[in-house]
Symmetry: C2
Subunit: 475 residues, 2 copies
């Protein structure tokens, strides 16, 4: 069928490229296996492999571990990545933002398409299996689980988390872990345990609005550290800033940062851990998106390089399993006793039943299976959303390139105010997070965060088209 | 059988008194109904009533609403009530107490008799009915309840709390209520919403150690206000202290205070509300024991006299229904928006399932029935514990007279250090709360708090006897 064996793989690749260009094969779809491809085209396995390598090199397809090759994007223009964020070089008092309340006021309104919520929808979570786990927990716990748990938390759950900890590069025991009512609660307890009101802490910029608001409610000052959309926090900057601003703790989302999507390379994580050891300050590591990676392996955590206990790792099952169960945890290193005291002071205990139920769900090994599907789904959605935004939004738009998690950070023309855009979008029953809420400084007014948690549909596509039109109108 | 009708009732009363004295009839036991008594003794109903009135006047028996007459104490000496507490007249920085951690370190050790826990045991709570309510909630909620609740909390639960609110003298709607993860969480959010780090708040003295520790973790200073063991906080003192110490908020347990057991009379509550209005400061009212009254009626709350929204009423179901469910709530008056923001900052949402389950349990009307039995049980236990302590402890012992709740405050000879006593008791597998943890000042070292939540048994009697012996040995 083909003339020269030398170019065989190129011709096969070219055929596939055309199918992608004409959208016969769409973003996120699976390609035939190498074996099937070789049969279909009457070529050797090696040639089939070469064709896919070639397309992968062009960024058109990508391999996913244990799953095969997928279309990663079509031929349409992809918006560029935003630059490193450069916040003002001073610590600022936090100001409460009514904007956040306005954005989340409509949380339970079912008629609004919520690009604002950085959590996959419950429709992709194992509701029935969790219900079974609750019933199991009621049978197993004394008095059907109406009593208090131990202060440190459900032991089965802590043992299961310890078992999981191998995958993110730490080896801890149940006794190193304290459970919390979700990840925000973990951050609250860890910040309370490592700082005093009036202290300054370092956050990435842009930064999760929840962390900024939490800092305010604890009377803390915040230094916003420049952050690269791929590599994360600027370590040279931080190294000078810690002594200068008397930073008492860093609170960073090291993997698939919210909202930027950055993921610190291992050597940066290692350097960061050395830095906090050098200055003897706490590093609160929010790893809430760490399990939602698109690549071959789960990224490590700073905790995995922590030999001195300066890192307080925080996480929860809210992004992957059951947000409403409020099951989170922390591995607070040398701050364990202080965090325990804060837990006793603020809440006494977590809700026994949901914590025991998650413990049981993990014990019977369902979690990793569920995560595999969730990751594939999010990866595909990430590509579909990115592509649609690149197509519908003006030329000047920049988009982040997250390799995990569930949000995109979008930078628009500087003349666009995304809070005004938000208010117009809301009239069209669409919500997202305006960029302004991700800083204490008057910044990111031309940015927005879009969650790709909602499964792709015509409604999602139309909503992104509408947003694009609204942006163009504002130019 | 009896000579003169005039003294008939006295003779009948005398017979009963002898039976009580000889412990044929024991504390907490029910007496025959008036009708049965009249038949037994061949006397008129009026005479039978007179006999009981007479014994009631002597404090030997007491009537309970809709239930009849009960033996309230035997003839043994009853220890006197402690005096009003007079803390040092200055605001102090809070110091964290390792003592609290030591006391609660043994919380989940089943072999220790825990007079330290101010909660009735789960054995007297409706575990099976709550489990049914959880299953019902999983059926009713979208996605079996794995999703987030609305920020303000489960609506069914809030409607049911609004319905209950009539009984404590307020008339609120579901929209006035914010649910929380237990009462400590409600106090945390309300204190965060009404104060800034560095502010001073007023607490009763002695004061619940949890409130003191919470104040510390929020960077607040505490003024301890003298408190009468029956009538509660000294209002004249408070009226002068508020402007002098620039008090920003009061946090009081107005009904069946922990640890003193005091219950503010209505006119004091009214005066207190006027006072916080006059100074325009917040009153955080912790009513967690309000439903556990021994008398005819539930005591009112300060909230019921609040016309201006200065009162933030806090409560939970942890003392009566299911401590491990972590279901609490607040009616924060004019501070509602601020408390909502704090809830968003600190925890995002409560655990959906347990909150929906309690809502359902309340809806089907089981709560009041359950409370009636719980109150009777606690009342009887209060009398039994008080009596045993009066008997086993030295002459110099004073005991509080709570009319609700589940704790006794005991004042020993000034030379006794109750933290040492605690350590000795622990060797005998008995725990209680040493008085020192109820103040930031070096006070109450000769006091202790004993919870009478654990149902009366020979083991309890023996443990109190052992405590009494240990005290005598320390004299």
């Amino acid at each position: 069928m083909l003339k020269t064996a030398d170019h065989l793989y190129l011709q096969v690749a070219d055929n596939i490229e055309q199918l992608i260009e004409k959208e016969v094969m769409k973003t996120g779809e699976k390609l035939p296996s190498v074996r099937v491809l070789s049969k279909q085209h009457g070529i050797s396995l090696t040639t089939a492999f070469q064709a896919y390598y070639h397309l992968e090199g062009k960024g058109l397809i990508e391999s996913r571990p244990k799953s095969g090759y997928y279309i990663s994007r079509n031929m349409r223009r992809m918006a560029p990545i935003p630059g490193t964020c450069r916040p003002v070089k001073k610590a600022s008092d936090v100001t409460v933002s009514d904007m956040v309340m306005e954005v989340f006021h409509h949380m339970s309104n079912e008629s609004i398409l919520k690009f604002s919520v950085a959590t996959p929808p419950t429709s992709v979570m194992p509701a029935a299996k969790m219900a079974k786990a609750v019933i199991h927990a009621m049978r197993e716990l004394p008095a059907n689980g109406i009593g208090y748990e131990p202060l440190q938390g459900n032991e089965l759950l802590r043992r299961q988390i310890a078992r999981m900890s191998l995958s993110w590069g730490t080896a801890v025991t149940a006794d190193d872990i304290i459970t919390t009512s979700g990840c925000m609660d973990a951050l609250t307890l860890c910040l309370s345990a490592t700082t005093q009101p009036g202290d300054t802490i370092a956050l990435e910029s842009p930064s999760y609005y929840g962390a900024l608001q939490l800092a305010e409610s604890l009377g803390l000052k915040v230094l916003e550290v420049p952050t690269h959309p791929i590599y994360g926090v600027d370590l040279d900057y931080l190294d000078k800033a810690i002594p200068k601003h008397k930073i008492k703790a860093c609170l960073f989302v090291t993997n698939f940062n919210n909202p930027l999507g950055s993921c610190m390379p291992d050597k940066n994580k290692q350097a960061l851990v050395k830095m906090v050891e050098k200055y003897d300050i706490a590093l609160i590591e929010d790893d809430i998106y760490g399990d939602l990676y698109f690549g071959r392996e789960r990224p490590a955590t700073c905790k995995s390089f922590d030999k001195t206990g300066h890192v307080l790792l925080c996480n929860s099952f809210s992004k992957s399993l059951a947000p409403g169960y409020r099951v989170g945890w922390t591995i607070p290193g040398k701050y364990k006793e202080k965090v325990l005291l804060m837990k006793q002071n603020h809440s006494i205990a977590c809700a026994s039943l949901p914590h025991a139920a998650v413990g049981h769900f993990l014990e019977i090994g369902r979690y990793e299976f569920h995560l595999r599907n969730l990751r594939k789904m999010l990866h595909t959605q990430c590509l579909l959303y990115s592509q649609a935004i690149s197509e519908y939004f003006p030329e000047s738009t920049c988009i982040s390139r997250p390799q995990g998690g569930c949000v995109l950070w979008i930078e628009l023309d500087p003349q666009i105010n995304t809070f005004e855009l938000f208010q117009q979008a809301l009239k069209n029953r669409i919500s997202f997070c305006p960029g302004r809420i991700f800083s204490l400084q008057n910044r990111y007014n031309n940015c927005l965060r879009i969650s790709y948690g909602t499964p792709w549909s015509k409604q999602v596509d139309d909503a992104l088209k509408t947003l694009g039109k609204l942006v163009r109108k504002m130019l």
